[in-house]
Symmetry: C2
C-alpha cells in the first residue's frame, strides 16, 4: 500500500465499534485505583482512604483553539491531556485518570485518529495516567476534543485559588509569553503560506517557542518539587488564560489585590527574539499571552528562603490588602494599573 493510500482511510471503514476498539487497544497501564475501566456503561475508580477526588474538563475546538494546518495531531493529543493535567496539578492534586470525548468530522481519517491517540498515550505515560472511558461521536463539520481528567489529593494538601493572605509572595514557574510567541510565529507562517504556497516556512530559529505552543508540558515536576521541600502554597492556579487574568483570578478569589514587579517576570530569550522580530513589547506577551500551563501561586513571606533555593521558580510580586489594587511596578518605581486582558472566544470580531 502506497503512502498516498495509507493516509486516506476514512473513519467510516472502522465504524463506531472499530473506533472504540482502537481507543481501548491503546497500551496504557491501568492505575491501582481503577476498578472498572473502558467498556462498561461508566468507569469506576476507588480513591485511597481519606483522599478527595479532583475533576476538571477542558474543551478544544478546531478553528477556535487549534488549526489542523499547523497543529500536528500527535502534538494535539498530547496537549489536550496537558491542559487538563495542568488544572489538576493547580489544585495540588495528583493526576490519575482521563475520560476522552471526541467529536470526529467526516474528513477525519483513521491515520489522523491514530496520530491523535498516540499523542494522548504518550501524555498518559508522562503523567502516570490511565484512560478509563469516554464517548466518540461523529460531527457534521468540526473536530472537537472534550477531555475530563480526574486526580486525587489529601485534604490538607489541596490548594484552592482563595487561600492567599495579605503580603503573601506571588510566584511563577518557568517563563512566560513563550506559547503565545509560538502562536504568533505559526500564524505569520500560515498567512505567508496562504498568500504564496510555494514559500517554504523557516521556523528553525524558533524551536523553543514553537514547542511551548505545540507540545507544552504541565508543571507536575514543580508540584512534586514543592511537596518535596515541604512548601505548601496558600493559593494556586495555572496560567492558561495568561498572567494578567490569572492574577485577577487569585486576587478576586482571595479578596486581595496583586502587585507585580514587571522586571521580575521571567521571559525566555526565544520569546524576546519573537517580540523583537514582530516589534512587540515582550512584557505584553508575558502578561497577556495564554496557554502557558505554568503555575501561579502564593506562599507566606516567611517561605522566601525556601523558594529561592528552587530552580525555575520566580517571585514576581506580592498580595496587597486592597482588593481593588491590581498593579504593575517598573524598574523606575513607577506604578501602572494591571489590565485584565486575555482571549475571549465569545467576543472576537474576526
Amino acid at each position: 500500500m502506497s503512502k498516498e493510500q495509507e493516509i486516506k482511510t476514512p473513519l467510516g471503514a472502522l465504524g463506531e465499534s472499530g473506533i472504540h476498539q482502537r481507543i481501548r487497544g491503546l497500551a496504557i497501564e491501568p492505575r491501582a485505583e481503577t476498578v472498572l475501566g473502558q467498556g462498561d456503561d461508566a468507569a469506576v475508580v476507588r480513591p485511597k482512604t481519606n483522599q478527595e477526588v479532583v475533576i476538571t474538563k477542558d474543551l478544544m475546538v478546531e478553528g477556535v483553539h487549534f488549526d489542523l494546518m499547523y497543529s500536528p495531531l500527535q502534538h494535539l493529543g498530547y496537549k489536550a491531556v496537558v491542559s487538563n493535567v495542568s488544572d489538576i496539578v493547580a489544585m495540588g492534586a495528583e493526576p490519575a485518570h482521563l475520560v476522552l470525548g471526541l467529536g470526529l468530522p467526516p474528513k477525519f481519517t483513521v491515520e489522523a485518529l491514530d496520530a491523535f491517540l498516540e499523542g494522548l498515550r504518550q501524555a498518559c505515560k508522562t503523567y502516570g495516567m490511565d484512560l478509563i472511558g469516554g464517548d466518540t461521536v461523529s460531527t457534521l463539520r468540526d473536530f472537537f476534543i472534550s477531555i475530563t481528567a480526574v486526580g486525587y489529593v489529601e485534604p490538607e494538601q489541596k490548594i484552592a485559588q482563595s487561600g492567599a493572605s495579605k503580603n503573601d509572595l506571588v510566584c511563577v514557574t518557568g517563563n512566560l509569553g513563550a506559547a503565545y510567541a509560538g502562536f504568533l510565529m505559526l500564524d505569520r507562517e500560515r498567512r505567508i503560506y496562504l498568500e504564496n504556497p510555494d514559500v517554504q516556512p523557516d521556523l528553525s530559529d524558533h524551536a523553543y517557542v514553537l514547542e511551548r505552543q505545540l507540545k507544552p508540558e504541565a508543571r507536575m515536576d514543580m508540584w512534586q518539587e514543592l511537596r518535596k521541600k515541604g512548601i505548601q502554597p496558600t493559593a494556586m492556579t495555572d496560567i492558561s488564560d495568561g498572567l494578567s487574568k490569572s492574577c485577577f483570578t487569585l486576587g478576586k478569589a482571595s479578596g486581595l489585590g496583586v502587585r507585580i514587579d514587571l522586571e521580575r517576570i521571567p521571559i525566555h530569550p526565544g520569546t524576546l527574539k519573537v517580540a523583537e522580530e514582530l516589534q512587540l513589547d515582550p512584557y505584553h506577551l508575558a502578561l497577556h499571552g495564554g496557554e502557558e500551563y505554568e503555575l501561579l501561586f502564593t506562599i507566606p513571606a516567611s517561605s522566601y528562603n525556601k523558594i529561592q533555593a528552587l530552580e525555575d521558580i520566580t517571585v514576581i510580586g506580592f498580595m496587597e490588602e486592597d482588593p481593588a489594587a491590581f498593579r504593575l511596578i517598573d524598574s523606575s518605581g513607577k506604578v501602572f494599573p494591571l489590565e485584565e486582558l486575555g482571549w475571549d472566544g465569545f467576543r472576537k470580531d474576526e
Copy 2:
C-alpha cells in the same frame, strides 16, 4: 423590550465571564460530598468512606444527535443530563454531580442558553445532582454538549455488564420503541414542514412517544425499587443503543448468549399506533430503536417471584450458555437470529 428583541441577545454581549456567571448563578443545591464546586481550576468531591466513584461522559452534537428545529432547548438540557444519569444508574450507582461542557456557535443567543440551562437545572433537581464545574467555549458552527456525570456506589452494590450467569432471566424496565417512534413522528413533520411551511403540524395524537423522545427520564426509580426489594441484578446496562445492541453488550461482556421471547417485549399503545401509521413492524422499533434510557438487566432465575411483584419490569428472556447464540423466539415457537442493528454515526450515508 418587545419579545422580538428578547429572543435575540447575542452571546457576545455576555462574553465568556458573563456566560460563566450565568452558569454559576443557577440555583442548584450543592451536595454534601461537594468540597469545592464551580469556579476553581478543578472541582473537588469527597466520597463517603468505602464508596467507589462512578464516572461517565456523553456527547451530543447538533445535526447528529438532535435537531434544534424540533428539540426545544429546555428539553435538550434535561435530556443531556438524563442520558448521563442513565449510565450511572446502569452501574447500580447513585448519580451525584455534573460537569458541563458546552460548545456554543455564534448563532446561539443568551435566551437559548438560559432555556438550555433551565432544563439542566430541572434535571439536577429531579435526580438530586449538583453542578460542580465545566468548560464553555465558542465554536465556529455547531452546538455541542459534553456532560460528564459522577456518581457513588458501595462496592457490593455495583453492577457491571459482565456478571450474568447461564439461565439468568433477562428483564427490561418500562416499554421499548417509544423514543424511536417519537423521532419518526418528528422527522415526518419536519419533512412536511420543509416541503410546505404553511402546513401546521398536528402531533397531538402522539404525546406519549414525543415525550419519550424529547424529555425522557432515566430509570432511577427502578434502581431504587430493586434496592428496596433486595434484588441485586447480576448484570445491567441501559438501552440507549437499542435492545438488540444491548443484548449483545450484556451477552458478550458475560461470555454468554441471549434468548428473547419476542411476544414478551413490552410495547406501549402509542408506539403501536405509530408503527401502524407508518406501516412498520412494531417489534423492529422495540428491538432496534435507541435512546430508550430503560434498563436491561439479568437476575438469577430464583428471583423470579420477587421480580414478578414489581410493576414496570418485564422478564423477556434468559441467558444461554452458548456465547454465539443470540436468538429471538416468536409465539409459534419459531426461532430467529437476533440481529445487532442500531445507529452508527460513522457509517451513515446521507
